[in-house]
Amino acid sequence: MKWTRRDLLKGLGGLPILGAVWWAGAANTMSSRKQRSAILEQLNIRPSLPPTVPGITGKPVRVGIIGFGIRGEQLCRSLGFATDEWKEEMRIAAEEDPNIKALEDFENQDKLNVKLTGVCDVFDVRAEKALKSFNTSDNQMKRYSTYLEMIQSGDVDAVVIATPDHWHAPMSIAALNNNVHVYVEKPMTHTVDETYALQDAAKASKAIFAVGHQHRQTLSFSTARDIVEKGTLGHVSLIQTNTNRNDDNGAWNYDIHKQASTETIDWDQFLGSAPKVPFNKNHFFRWRKWWAYGSGLSGDLLTHDYDRLNCVLNMGIPEAVSTSGGIYTHNDGRNVPDVLQVNMEFPNFSTGSSQIEGKEKGMTFCYSASLGNSFNRPTILMGHDATMELGNRLTVWPDGASTRYGEQLELGKMQPNVPIYQYNPAANVPDAISSATSQYFADKGLMWTYIDGVRVDSTFLHMREWLSVIKNGGKVSCGIKEGFEEAIAAHMAGLSWKLGRKIEWDTKTEKIVPIEGIDFDEVLLYNGKWVTPTQANEV
C-alpha cells in the first residue's frame, strides 16, 4: 500500500488544523492566565472568607425588641422571627414572581439560639402584631408598656432598639446601666452630649453593646481593607460616595396606618425628649423628616456610607466637616434637607504612598445625596495608583499616571480601563481581568453573598456576631468606638448644614471645637427655629 501526497493531504489534512487550533487555544489561555496570576501575585490580595463565630450555645438568649416598625420587623426576621402576615405576603409574592426568594431565604437561614421574650412599641397595632405571631407555646412573649419596664423586668438578657433616633441613646444607656446587652440601630445617638454619655455607659457596663451597621459583615469590605492595606491604590486623596433615591419610601414618606389614633398610640412616650406637640400621625410614621426625632440624610444614610468607609480605612472622625444642601425635592413640611453634600476633611490621613516621602498626605471624603434622582452613582476610592469601586463586588482599575504600576502600564501589561482585580463573594475565584460579561452579571445582582450555597443577609450575620460575643466573649465589629465615630461624624455634618459653616474636631481633646454662643445640641435639635406643626400638616 502506497500513500500518495494527495492521500495524505485529503486524509490527514485536518491534523495540522487541529494542532494549530489546539496550540492557539492553549497558548492564549495560558498566557492570559499567566499574565493575570503575575498581576494577582504582585497585588497579593487575600479575598476574605465568610466570618466564623463560636456557636451560641447553652440557655437561649432572651431578647426584647423595642420598636416593632419597619426595621424592627426586619431585625426580628434576622433573629429568626417572621410575622404570619409577612410570611403570607412573601408566599403570595413568590407565587407571582418565583424570583422573590425572601421566604425561602428566611426558612433557610440558620436558627439562632434565642427567644424573643418581650416587645415594646407605643403603637398597639404593632405590639399586638408581634404577640400574635411570636407568643407561642415554645416562645413565651410579653408586651411591656415602657422600655424601662422591659429592661428592669429581669426577663430579658438583651434588647434590640429600632426606634426613632431620639430614643436610641436613652434606651441604650438604661439597658447598659442594667447590664442588659444592646443592639441599637444607626445613628447611634441623636445629640453630641448623648454620644459621650452613651460612650461612658458602654465602657462602664458588663453588657455587650453593638451598633447595627450590618455591612461590617459584608465580605467585600474586609477584602477592600486588605486591598488598601497592601498599597494597591496608593495614596487615596478622594472618596466619593452617594445616595440616590427618587421614591416616596426613599424620601421617608412611609405608610400611615389607618388604625393610628390617640387611642392606639402612646403619643407622650413617642415624643420623649422632643418638643411637646399635639398628636400628629405624619410625625409618628414619618419621623425621619424632622430633626426632633430623626436626622435626615446625615443620620439615616450618610452614617451607612461613612461607616462603610471607616470599616475599610479606619480613618476615624474627620478633622473638619462642611455641608451644604437644602429641601429641594420634597417640600412637604419636613425640616431635614433632601439634597445634601458633605465634605469631610482628613488632612493627616494616608493610605500609604508610592511616591517620594511627604508628597502625599490627606484625604477628602465627599458624600453626595439626592432624594430626587435614582441614577446609580457608585462609591469610588481614588488613589494615585488605582481606583476602586466599592460595593458587594470590588473592582480595581490602575491609574494611567500610577507610579507603582508605571512599568506595567508602559509595557502594556496593564491598561487604565482594564481592571487589575475584581472580587465577587459569590464567585469561587477572584477575577483579575474582568470581561464585560462578568461585569454585567454582577450589576444584575445575580451574584450575592453565598455561604455554603445559602444566600445570607448581612443583618443576620451582624446579629449572630453580637449574640455570639454575648455568650462567648470577644469583640463585636461595630461597638462603641465605631458607633462613637459614626455618631460624631454625622452630628458634625448636621451642625455644619444648620449653621452654614465649617465644624471642626479637636483630636487632642476629642471634642467638637466649640463655637462661641452656640449650643450644638440646641442647634441639632431645634436650631432656635422650632415651630409647632399645625394640625394642617396632619395627613
Binding site: M1, G25, T29, N428, L446
Partner: protein
Amino acid sequence: MVSTTRDRKVKLSVTLLRVLIGWHFLYEGVVKLFNPEWTAFGYLASAQGPFKPVFTVLAQDPFIAWVDIMNMAALLIVGVCLVLGVFERKSAIIGIGLLALYYLAHPSLPGVQQLNVEGNYWLVNKNLIELAACILIYNFPTGNYFGLGYLKKGRLTKIEKK
C-alpha cells in the same frame, strides 16, 4: 466515481463549512480545558425565555460541575471530529444538541433582553444558524472527501489501481 464540477463545488463548500464549525467548537473547548476557572454559571444563571427555570437549576450545585465538564467534553469531541473528518454524523448531532441548549438559554425572542450580543436578532441568531449548518453536515458528510474517512474507505487501493 464520476463527479461533476457542480458536485465538487458543493463538496468543497460543505467541507469548508465543516472544518470551520469544527474549528469554532474546538477552540471554545480548548480555551475551557486550559482555564480551570471557567464555568457556565453566568450563562446559565442569566438564562431567559421559557426554559429559564431549567437552566437556573442547572446553574446550581451539584449540577453545575457536571454541566461544565459535559459542555467542555462535548465541544472538544465535536471540534476534533469535524476538523479531522471522522464520526461526522454523530458529532453533528451532538453539535446540534449543544447549540440548541445555547439557543434556548438565551433565545432571541421578542421581549427577551439580549445579553452580551454584538448585533440585533429577532428569532434567528448565530447559534441557530450554526445549528442549521450542523444539520447540513449531518445530511452531507464529507469525511470521505477530506478527512480520516478518506483513508478508511479503501480509497487508497482505488488510487493504486489507477
